[in-house]
Amino acid sequence: MAPERLAFVCPRYAGGGAVGGAETLLKNLAIRAARLGFAVDFLTTCAQNHHTWENTLPPQQVARDGMNVHFFPVDERDAPEYLRLQQAIDRGRELTLEEETRWLRNGVTSGPLMDHLARHAPSYRAIITGPYLFGLAWFAAMAHPDRTLLVPCLHDEPFARLAVMRQLFNAVAGCLFNANAERELAVELFAFPDERARVVGMGLDPFTADPAAFAARHGLTAPYVLYSGRREPLKGTPLLCDYVHAFRQRTRRDIKLVLTGSGPIEAPPALRPHLLDAGFVSEQEKHEAMAGAAAFVHPSINESFGIVLLEAFLAGTPGLVHAQSRVLVEQCHAAQAGLWFRHYPDFETQLAYLLDHPEARADLGKRGRDYVLREYAWPVIEQKFVSALDALLPVRSSPANNP
């Protein structure tokens, strides 16, 4: 019997410079589905940069990671028009439905990818796509909503309040959320029904890392806090720099800030000598940096999963997250492995607490590691994924079997 076919639709293929959490999540889920015996087509674009959406990879179909990966060119787009509408949404201006659709169309879309879907959709048991705010995912989902499972990676942000997003969530067969807090947000925004919702997330491979290796390699003698990922205002990195600078000034304690990942850093000049920008590092080095940190600080309020926070837990390091991020707070609370701050005074008190109580830090770290090993082992996630698929899109009898 031929294996069941699944299509994953994602704007970029993670790896080689594309580091978005949502892309990583979809790719890893697809790889695991392939290992489970599904025939997986991963449909993506030739673009790697999520600002320019320039076609930098050749259009091609390749066998990679146990899947057929199809790279389709991105359509021509009116970038200034997209940015104009994006700014209007950001500022809370109400757009017409036509303007919202124009915003989606000028984000990232691919006609050839849609043609492929039109030809092959009936052969796919499910089309799994995300994140919700990209035109590519939106049009793919709306073309075949009855067989689409959306991995929304939903945040509480102005885009989530657009009328087109309500249409999307109403139309799809189901949603695979990354956390309960994300599902609750979908209930608040769209009255999303429980029977079409499942929480799946992503598994993490266990690792061990030497806590002293990173500091020794970079000559760090003082304790440090770490953030890994994209550096941009939406991720809260300027806030983290300002907080660490104020912490150093006010408490007169020598603490360093280590950043890994990509993007510019906006830091006060006086913090520069105490900031280590490690840039892109290997997974091993990232894990070592995590294992040696006094805390992993995640200042973003727009997260639907928080892969790096879970990795830090796995490295045995407690988290320090922004209280406005429901998902990160939920992870810290569920794991009993992190604290959450509302503002600078909380941050100062909580970081000082972690620095002054190494035994508490170690205990929180242990709880975090145990939690991730228990809840985010791949077999657990695979089980959730298959159950969600069976519940939301049960196997249909093929037309040949119908009388």
Binding site: C332, R342, H343, T349
Partner: protein, 152 residues
């Protein structure tokens, strides 16, 4: 800092309780003015957008601003890290500083005036908005009491 009620590792430990304890300690210190500090206000400016929903934050931010607004030019300390020539260089810089005071004081005092006016205006606006909102809330409550079948 007050000691958290529960110790980590103890049976029944809940991280939410630890956070609540630490936040309660912070709230007490906030009320005591421990964080009324320009450095806190400066660090917090990137967090303002995240705290739009917080009722207390604008009040706290204004307190920090009030602390920072009137800069005292005389408290500027001159340091020198070079040991050998240090005392000589400090003396030289003090002379330059004093010679320039005639010019810089005028600029500083004008800037202080502007800063003070801005803070006063902001405080006035906040106070006015709070009073208007209180009056409106009272009016809504009265109207709801008069028509119990209407409203939420």
């Amino acid at each position: 800092m007050t000691t958290p009620i529960l110790s980590i590792g103890a049976p029944g430990f809940d991280v939410a309780q630890l956070v609540a304890d630490l936040q309660a300690a912070v709230d007490r210190k906030l009320a005591d003015g421990v964080y009324a500090d320009a450095r806190v206000a400066r660090a917090e400016h990137t967090n303002l957008v995240n705290l739009r929903g917080s009722d207390d934050f604008i009040g706290f931010y204004l307190t920090c601003l009030r602390e920072a607004v009137f800069i005292d030019i005389s408290d500027y300390e001159i340091h020198e890290r070079r040991r050998v020539l240090g005392p000589l260089l400090i003396a030289f810089k003090k002379v330059v500083w004093n010679l320039l005071k005639f010019y810089t004081y005028r600029l500083w005092s004008q800037q202080n005036q502007v800063n003070g006016l801005i803070v006063t205006a902001l405080e006035g606006m906040e106070d006015q908005t709070a009073r208007k909102l209180a009056a409106l809330e009272q009016r809504v409550a009265e109207l709801e009491a008069r028509n119990p079948g209407h409203g939420s």
